[in-house]
């Protein structure tokens, strides 16, 4: 343990020094995200899918669409569930088994960004009110953890949903029946973009790499919608932010988000 923490301390100093110099270890400016590559249609058996590479981070996400029972108090809306998993191949410290609190947070933050933006018009995902609705299940699997899984999983989920083709069901007797040969586009209202920023000392970095991720004093994920409004927030990490930092992070999330959005929107056309 002793050697590990000494090494960690040295690494931390290296990362902090390079951030303070305004040029990060991988050569990026503080507000510069890593290269983002979005491919869709990577898992044809899923109704929608995407592989996202954000620097060294890689995520594969599939969307499955099934008839589902509505929640008792929302019989006029479809259901949406978003999960995330870090399988053991993604990182030497990742373990199989029940999800850690960090993985649960990851899934819930990605879910919240999409849900709260009202990306999908859930009222258009009803087969028969109070009886049967369309369930959209978005499952994220991290293949390679290179840091900032929040944004990578969010981009992969959004791209997979945009690329999705929904099967069509009709009510027959009391059960939904698939209408063969019919597909429709998902009812998209907006394209949410999550932007995660880390604070190292008094500096804010966009899209922290894995090395930086280990050194963050605090982090903040801000999701914005197509109108440039803010629809979800999550602060994490062992320290805080000043109100001034929170305001400047919001401006950064809006401007970086506007640059990312067209890359995700391309998934819609690609199908």
């Amino acid at each position: 343990m002793g050697t590990v923490s000494i090494l960690d301390g040295l690494k931390r100093k290296l990362v902090a020094d390079s951030v303070a110099s305004g040029r990060r270890a991988d050569g990026r400016a503080l507000d510069e995200m890593r290269e983002l590559v979005v491919e869709t249609g990577v898992v044809p058996k899923a109704e929608g899918s995407a592989r996202v590479r954000l620097g060294r981070t890689e995520v594969v996400t599939g969307v499955k669409v099934n008839p589902d029972r509505p929640f008792p108090d929302t019989g006029d809306r479809g259901t949406f569930i978003c999960t995330a998993e870090i399988p053991p191949l993604a990182h030497p410290d990742a373990e199989a088994g029940p999800p850690s609190e960090a993985v649960i947070e990851l899934a819930r933050v990605v879910d919240r960004g999409i849900r709260e933006s009202h990306m999908l018009d859930m009222s258009q995902l009803v087969i028969k009110r109070d009886v049967s609705v369309v369930g959209v299940f978005t499952d994220n699997a991290v293949m390679d953890d290179g840091g900032n899984l929040f944004d990578a999983c969010s981009y992969a989920s959004v791209a997979a949903i945009l690329s999705c083709k929904l099967p069509v069901w009709e009510m027959a007797e009391d059960a939904p029946r698939l209408v063969e040969g019919q597909r429709r586009d998902p009812p998209i209202t907006t394209v949410p973009v999550s932007v995660t920023m880390g604070r190292i000392g008094n500096h804010i970095v966009v899209d922290p790499s894995l090395e930086e991720w280990m050194c963050l004093d605090a982090r903040l994920t801000i999701t914005t919608n197509s109108e440039g409004n803010i629809c979800a927030l999550q602060k994490g990490g062992r320290e805080g932010f000043t109100p001034e930092q929170l305001n400047s992070c919001a401006e950064t999330a809006i401007s970086v988000g506007a640059r990312v959005r067209p890359k995700l929107e391309a998934a819609r056309r690609a199908g």
């Binding site: 709260e116 009202h118 803010i230 109100p243």
Partner: protein, 244 residues
């Protein structure tokens, strides 16, 4: 956010909310420190209809051993809802929501607690929600911070939490359960009142950038109101004749 359709008038023409409050008025808050015998520190809070008990143990030995850190003490937080705390019985096992809330409460407290003074030990914070209303994570955090101070654990600052939100296109302080279900945004905020750092921040719902700034300001103002009540609770417990 729920954003559910409702017949309820969330904000009337005079700027009065469904429970009779003004837009900048919190619900009734009552905190008592030192309510448990076995815990090293404890607190009970009523925040609107929330009823919450927090107990703190430690610094003490870490079990399981592998969690222990030779450089610093560790903080562990468990936020747990009793099955009877909500309208529909909640299954007793910790849900994913409770695990996430435990994590954000822990991270909101961490900057305040001087764990580096107690290497190889753990400070455990256990929070039981007896009755839940809107804003239970903020109320739980307020009680947890008072319980830590009551336990005599060295702290750099208090941690005070209160939510702000958007109801009927208006930014309001401390949204209740009805406003949470039918409102447009819910933003829990926690600060360290002396350093001014924001240590918990979440948001469900859509805000423009101006509303975002206003909502943070409103939440911070609520945290400062809570801070006074926390200090009074600790004074009542530890100084004879205080708080009158």
């Amino acid at each position: 956010m729920g954003g559910r359709e409702t017949d309820m008038v969330l904000l009337d023409a005079n700027g009065i909310r469904c429970d009779g409050r003004r837009v900048d008025e919190p619900r009734r808050i009552m905190i008592r420190a030192g309510v448990l015998h076995n815990a090293n520190g404890s607190a009970y809070i009523e925040f609107g209809d929330n009823k919450i008990v927090a107990g703190v143990f430690g610094p003490r030995d870490v079990h399981p051993k592998h969690q222990s850190n030779a450089e610093t003490g560790i903080l562990r937080v468990r936020y747990h809802m009793q099955p009877y705390s909500v309208t529909e019985r909640k299954r007793p096992a910790p849900s994913r929501r409770e695990i996430e809330i435990s994590k954000v409460i822990k991270e909101a407290l961490l900057p305040a607690v001087m764990l580096e003074r107690f290497p190889r030990t753990a400070v455990d914070v256990f929070v039981e929600i007896l009755q839940a209303d809107g804003g239970s994570r903020c109320a739980a955090l307020d009680a947890a911070a008072v319980a830590l101070a009551d336990a005599g654990i060295p702290m750099r600052d208090m941690v005070s939490a209160c939510a702000a939100g958007k109801v009927a296109d208006t930014i309001v302080l401390d949204i209740n359960n009805e406003e949470d279900q039918a409102g447009q945004a819910d933003m829990p905020v926690a600060i360290m009142p002396n350093s001014g750092q924001v240590t918990l921040l979440q948001l469900d719902g859509v805000l423009t950038r101006d509303e975002y700034r206003k909502c943070i300001e409103t939440g911070i103002a609520g945290c400062r109101l809570v801070y006074d009540i926390q200090k009074r609770a600790l004074a009542e417990r530890h100084f004879k004749g205080a708080g009158q």
